[in-house]
Symmetry: C2
Subunit: 362 residues, 2 copies
């Protein structure tokens, strides 16, 4: 019998049908109610066991985090809190979970801090928070490909290992196969990279822009979506050592075309996620609202997560010239109170604090 995914069962329940579900136990109450999740959705299916019909040795193995297969008839739920439930006729224990071990992990069914989740990277996919994050990340990634494909862009896999420093965007990681302690040397005492794998010194890419521009000048419209790297040891939210970056390049576009593309692109992604990840977004939204409620009033976000996405979708992006941006910044109270770290005058490169002020206040 082919297993059915819980996302399908809950979105299109067929009452009276015999089905097979496989997943992981989230909770087992009163020797009777199993909450089972299979990762296809944040929601669990309630499965009801008549404990008199099953061997106690089997029931004892139905513990949090255990992998089980449950066969039974889908019925309208007798209790509240769920529309349907599974009346279990067969139980298969696929993988046991030691309750003492589970106690020490993020699989214990309660709220954990993000720091604790970070320490158990191998288990955190099992939590509601990371499940939601990774399902949403998938939807974002797919919507990006879908957006560009629908508009005739071609996806380009630009080189990861490169001999060029695309845009001087930052410190680079070196990629090498030379002996780390005794590298071959030239006569002048410098390292002889001709002996390295590619016959020269190479790095991890900081951008696929160079190759994307070449491709755009032939294919018309291309985009990259792949990993890029920065070796700066800075703990800012803007720069990670490794992250996936999207770079569209379009031949014959002018600045207005590029601004239109950016705005349309971002709105499309936000819309796609709101339409396709409602349950996961609601969970993260509620988690944030609850966290915010513990903060002093003046430190709370004005808008919730979902409200912020709606704000992006429902408003035209404000557009202003560089000169106007400098004007706005110089006339701001923030500037007058000397709250910017970097000074402002026409001609400077805007710093992230400046960009952030413009986005948040204009």
């Amino acid at each position: 019998m082919k297993r059915v995914k819980i996302a399908e069962i809950l979105s299109q329940p067929e009452i009276g049908k015999e089905i097979l579900v496989k997943g992981w136990v989230r909770a087992f109450r009163s020797n009777r109610f199993i909450q089972i999740n299979d990762g296809s959705t944040i929601n669990t299916l309630q499965a009801v066991v008549d404990f008199e019909k099953f061997d106690e040795a089997i029931l004892k193995k139905i513990t949090t985090a255990a992998a089980v297969g449950l066969k039974g008839i889908l019925i309208e739920s007798q209790g509240t809190g769920q529309a349907v439930e599974l009346q279990v006729s067969e139980i298969e224990i696929i993988g046991e979970a030691n309750p003492d071990d589970v106690q020490r992990t993020v699989m214990q069914p309660k709220k954990h801090s993000l720091e604790f989740l970070r320490e158990q990277a191998h288990l955190r996919f099992r939590t509601n928070t990371f499940g939601a994050v990774f399902r949403i990340r998938h939807a974002v990634a797919f919507s990006i490909h879908n957006y560009f494909n629908q508009r005739g862009f071609f996806y380009l896999h630009t080189p990861i290992i490169t001999g060029s420093d695309a845009e001087g965007a930052g410190e680079m990681f070196r990629v090498t196969n030379l002996d780390p302690k005794n590298p071959p040397l030239n006569e002048d005492g410098t390292v002889n990279f001709k002996e390295d794998f590619f016959g020269k010194a190479v790095n991890l890419t900081v951008s696929g822009q160079l190759e994307a521009e070449l491709a755009a000048l032939a294919l018309g419209q291309v985009y990259t979506f792949g990993p890029t790297f920065r070796a700066e040891n800075s703990n800012t939210s803007r720069h990670l050592a490794e992250f996936w970056m999207i770079e569209p390049e379009v031949a014959f576009n002018d600045l207005l075309d590029n601004m239109n593309l950016t705005e349309d692109f971002l709105k499309y992604i936000c819309n796609y996620v709101m339409e396709n990840c409602a349950d996961d977004l609601k969970f993260l939204n509620d988690r944030e609202v609850q966290e915010q409620s513990q903060k002093p009033q003046n430190e709370r976000n004005e808008l919730s997560l979902i409200e912020r996405l709606q704000f992006v979708v429902n408003n035209e992006f404000k557009r202003l010239t560089y000169t106007e941006a400098i004007e706005v910044l110089k006339n701001s109270n923030h500037y007058k109170k000397k709250k910017f770290q970097y000074d402002i005058s026409w001609g400077i490169d805007l710093q992230s604090e400046h960009e952030r002020y413009l986005v948040e206040n204009e």
Copy 2:
């Protein structure tokens, strides 16, 4: 006026409409017929210029590889070889191309060897061959994402820089920020990788399988599609230093499920490409047929490129056990004539020569 892409014009021509096309000149014949391509398709649009209406200085700049904008009315073609053509009313020279320079490049409109194309990596996107290859590669990549998304798989970006050797799959590239000549040393004289960027020795990933398996045990169905690396200095068609790999991982799947997934997946991709890249496939098919025709009869491929794709789609994949595979190999004339490099007995790991024999002959 917004430019229209040639792919759209040719697939849904609106006779009598004024349109703007931007692209690159492939040829300019008789001071009258411009073949223009914009990368959206392998096909060119014929644009007809009444040379008496334009300044000769402008016409002189319409040379192979020049970037131009052409405005005009789309009409039914007077000549043969194309259904529609553009009656040009305005010409904009966007970027000139020096004919002497173009002579030395792959942009010269004739057939070039793949080796010559390789030497001009920055220009090869402009050729029919690489245009076709990259448009098809896009279609393959998109169909992969589409296939998995439709079936409820979640796309996972697994780490590129890693401290683990996922499957002992091969030699790894080291990623480092240490001084290449004078790395910091421990007291025992070994390199002190605690001083390196991540506080330990790290490499480029050979596989995202480890993380994908963890994710599958929580999200149910996941796939990776990202760059992986091998530092072996072997010039085989199976191992590149850098390549994009797809790894699906599914919880609760058995071997039969995995075989079904593989077959369905490959057929879906082949079908998608045949449906969406007919013109590009035909070009590559014809190129191959022409090359094959120059070979002795007994060295030619049995099937053409398109026939091979159709063969994959229209046949059930043969499935056999390991034991059966060993039997087939041992009973083959290839084996009896000692043509395999590696000997065959039950228990060995199959080598690529063995896998290849099975695929090509069974």
